[in-house]
Each structure stands twice: as structure tokens, then as C-alpha cells.
Amino acid sequence: MRMNAIAMVVVFPALVMMSNVAAAAAETKPDVKGLYLLTDYPTVSVRPGTTSTISLRLQNYGLPPENFALSVDGAPAGWTATLLGGGQPVGAAMPATDQSVSLQLRLDVPADADAASKTLTVKAEGQGNSVSLPITVNLAKELPAKLTLTPQLPALRGTPKSSFDYTVSIKNDSGRNLTVSLAATAPRNFETSFTESYGTQELTSVPIDAGLSKDVKLKVRPPSSVDAGTFPIEMTATSGDTTAKTELSLEVVGQPRLTISGRDGRVSVLNAVAGEQTTVPLVIANDGTAAADNIELSGSGQSGWKIEFDKKTIDRIAPGQTTEVNALITPTDKALAGDYMTTVRASSRGETASTDFRVTVGTSTVWGMVGFGIIAVALLVMFGAVARFGRR
């Protein structure tokens, strides 16, 4: 503690001295005197039919405060040039000594303005001083884009069940920080949403700093009933008067969709017997948009159950067509009487369909008779013993 206190005592005055020196250096006035009308960019490009704003500054170096009348000369016919200060039109400005006043020159350029460059002169006139600033306005038909959209993969292909993710980078070239709102137009019933490239939060607009770019993800989900074909998606990014568009395309390839059901839609098998094969007719339909090829059938049930098919594979089912096969279900020898679930599956290159069948296993009549026989033997033993050994 004591050491620290001593150090403070020694160091603190030194710090104060150093800061005094720095302040004195900053306050040395530049060797400039007078009144100046300043702008950062004396020559600008403007697109006809738009409104532009040019920042100005009236700087007073070492003069007493004075009233300066402001005016703009040289505006061509049809143009409107207005000087704004603090957001409203102003006619005069009064900068204090060594102070400046911010001004803005607002230019409304008519759409039919000819392409030649024009020079406007902004004047500030006081009692003794007067300054003027010529500003050259170039008229450009096409300004460099302020927003650009670059899709990384503009055309995607998939099935109606897949989700199409377009990663689009938005670049802000406008020189200002912008908040860009995003929109996408897609065919009817297509679902579109924007997310960050590595996020799940959906968004409608993104802030982008000047000169930077940002990746957003456009997720398009076609309706599951969509037919095969190519669909255009248009993505729009808007910020104020700037708009950028990009065309994306989405190709949906046809997909088979299989369904399995029993004949007449029945999914129950009533009279299976333990250890005996039961034939169940199945209808396999393709409701999809493409043909299903090479359909493999399989089934599963309780352990020990055998589920086979008279045709193990089906070569092809055209869209909208159905095929009938027979499933051969054999419950295990040891299956108790009761209801069991079995699953029948059809799969064709990634497309699978499955249906649960409820199989009711009844007691085999043979074993029912055997049961009765054993009960009869039991009664025979009893009555036989009584009859044989009872009092005669």
C-alpha cells in the first residue's frame, strides 16, 4: 500500500504536466484567417429525376460573428436548388468566431435534364466579406449500383419434399449504412423465408454497413403437391430509393410417392393361425409425379414371424397406377391368440411407404380340440378312478 501511495505521489504530477503540454499543442491555432464555404466533394454525379443532397459548411476562422446572406446561382431552368440548414430552408447564416455552420444544398433534377454538366455557385455575402463555392454537377444516366445481390448458387434442383436454400450476398456500395428490407416473389403456395446464413431466426430486413456485404439465406419450400418443372423466384432488396433484384430458379423433379393398403383399404387380417401362412392382398399405388422403379417390399413383425411376398420386387409403377401383390404372413408357432401389429414396407430409391397391419391370431382349431381332449382325459381320470375303485 505504502509503495503504491508513493508511486502515485510521484507519477501523478508528471501525468498532469504531460496532459497540459498536449492541450497547449492542440490549441495552437492554424495560421488561417477568414471566411470559407467548404464541401467535401465539389464535383458530384446526379441521376436525372432524383433528388440529391450535398453537404456544405460555412467556416469562420478568426473573424467576428457576422450575418451572411446565402444564395445559389447558376441553377438551370427546371432545377430546384434549395439551401437547407437544420432541416429547413434558410436564407442566411451566422457562424461564430472559429465556428462553422452546417448547410445542405438540395438539388431536384428534372428527369428531362440534358446530359451536360452544370456548375452551380453557392454564395455567402456579408458586410465586408463574401465567399462563393462553385459546385460542378455531372448528370449521369446510370449511376453505379448502390446495392448488389449476388446469389452463390442461382439455380437449385430438388424434389417437392426438399427445401431449397439460396445463399445470397448483399453488398452495400452506397457509402451510407443502410437497412435493407428483403422480399421474394415465388409462384403461388411456395413458402419463402429469409434467415441469416448460419441462423434460424427469420428476418425481413438486415442492416448493412457502408462498403460491407452480408450473406442471407433464402429458403424456399415448394408445396408438396407441386408438379415437376422449373419455377422462377425473384429476390428483391430495397433500401429507400435503391432496389436490387436477382433472378433465381428452382427446378422440381418429379418424385414417386408410394402408398400401401389392403384391398378395399382394409388394414386388418382377421383369421391368422399360429404357424400357418395367411395370404393378404396388398395394393401398392404411386400417387407421385414420377414413375417408381425397382420397388422392394419388406415386412416386419414380432420376433419369429415370417412376412414374405409372392413378388419380392416390382419393376415399375407409373404415376397414378396401382399394382397388387400378395403378402404371405406366417405367425410364429408359439404365437398366443390375440392381436399383433405387423408392418409392410415398400421402398423405391429413397421413397418409402409403410402400413401397419393388425393381425388377429386365433386359436388353431386343432389345438382347441386337443385342449378339450386333455380336459376330457382329466374328467375321465377322475370318474374312472371313482368307478373303478369306488364302492361297487
Binding site: 399360429a274 414380432q302 398366443l336 386359436t363 389345438w367 385342449g371 378339450f372 386333455i374 382329466a378
Partner: protein
Amino acid sequence: MRREGSPWQGLGTVLLKELADHFDSPRMLLLALLMVLAAAVPFYSAVDQLRTTTSEDPFLLLKLFNPGGQTLSVVAILGFVIPVMAIGLGFDAVNGEHNRRTLSRILAQPIYRDALLAGKFLAGIIILAVNLMCLWLLVAGFGVFFLGVPPSGDEFARALVFYFIAVAYAGAWLGMAMLFSVLFRSPATAALLALGVWLFMTLLWPMISPFIAALVSPPDVRYTLLGILDPQTAAWQQGLSRISPYLLFEEATRTILTPTTPSLGPVLDQIRALRGEVVGAALPLRESLAIAWPGAVSLIAGAIVLFVATYVVFQRQEVRA
């Protein structure tokens, strides 16, 4: 004085006469009905449980006798009812003859006391065996009828072994009932004492024997802290519990009827689990038999010992009334 002629002379006559008496008596009919009704309830619940929870089981027939878990099984009911039936058949075997004053008349015939006692005992055993066989067939028959699954050979053999153990168990209780019928002249005393022993052995002894085991061999603190039974105490507990024919029967039948959990008693099970042995695997019939053998033999030996005691007491008794 040397005995002349075969001691078995007249055995057949006594046996047939006793069988005829029993088969015609309403007592046997009532006892048989009691056994069937008592077994019907747990049998039905076992069938119900199997139909709803089991899709396939390699030991269905055995599950009908002993479904496992907390449910009351046919076997547990039989463990209670078989002694009642045996006592009911045997409690007045000898003193009944005394009281009707027929004993001296019978012995006046060329029939030795050996043949009389053996005939009565054999007749009781045959009656019990026939009844149990009936019950066994009813369980198997209704089981096949309700579940629709035939028993496998292994199951059938196990069920038959269970039947023989049950007959041996019945024989032990019949021997006890007959011993009391020789010891006491009043059938009521004999019946009450036999029922008292039955109650003590089936209900009280399973509760008392762990206490006695803990008294004789107090469990080591180290085992208690570990939460397992001291092997010494467990051995005492098991040994003491085997005094009761009910617990012997229960142990033997459990081993035979549940091949998947062949329990060797709490302590051995613990040791097996500690050694990493899988306790749930099914044992072959031969192994189950080897485990159940001491219990079954004890039951048979108990029946013989009790019969011999009865014989000795009867031979030394004054039969003239």
C-alpha cells in the same frame, strides 16, 4: 415272537377298501372341489395376464402354473391347499377306526398292522395323486384351449416333475396327519394339531426363520453396511427355512417351473450377480433338476420318516379298546 407269513398280506384288501371309502365320501369330493376352485382363480388371472402382455414365450405351460411376479400363482395356491387336503384325508385314519371300535375287528382278520397302515397311507397317496393329476390335466387342457399353443417337450417334462414334487409334498403332509391320528385318540385333537402345524409351517415359519437366523448368526456389520446379506446368516436362514415343507416345496417348484431365473437362494444369487453371471438365462432341464433335487428328496424323505414314526408308534400301541 416271530411273525408268520408276509407282512404285506391283506395290503391289497385294505387299499381297495380305503380307496372305495374315500372315493365315495363327500369329504373327498369337497376337498377336490376346494382344490379346483382355489386353482381356478390364479389360473384365470395367469391366462389373462399372458394374453395381454405376452406375444411369445418358450415356457407358456410353466407360466400358467407360475406366471412369476407378484401375482398369486397356481403353485402358491397348491402349496396352501395340498396340506389341507392331505390333513383332511389322514387326520382320522387310525383313531377313527379306534373310535368306531373296528380296529380290533380288522386286526382279527389275517391282516398285519403293517399292511393296515401301509394300505391306508398308499390309499391316501393315490387319492391325492389322482386329484392332482386331474388338476394338472385341467390346467394344461384349458391352457392349450385358451392360448392355442402346444407345450414343448421340455415344458411337458418340467410340468411332470412339478407334478411328482407336488405328490411328494402331499405325501409328507399325509404322513404328518397319520402320525397325529395314531398319537391322539380324538380325531378333533389330531385334526386341530395337524392344522396348527400346517399354519405354523406355511404362515409363521417363513416370518420367524429370518429372526432366528439373525439371532444364531448375527450379520457382520461390514455386510450390513454394504447392504447385502451376510453369507453366514443367509446360509442359516436358508437352512432353517428348509425345515418347513411349504418352503421346500416352494423352492423346488420355483426352480423347476421358472427355468429362466434359477434362484439358488438370496446369497448365491448375490454372489452370482457380483461375479457378473447373467441370472436371467434359461437352464437346461437337467441342471434345474440337479438344483431342485435336494428339495424334492427332502420332501420324499420327510414323508418316509413320518410314515416310519407312525409305524413305530402304531406297532407299540395297545389296540384293544
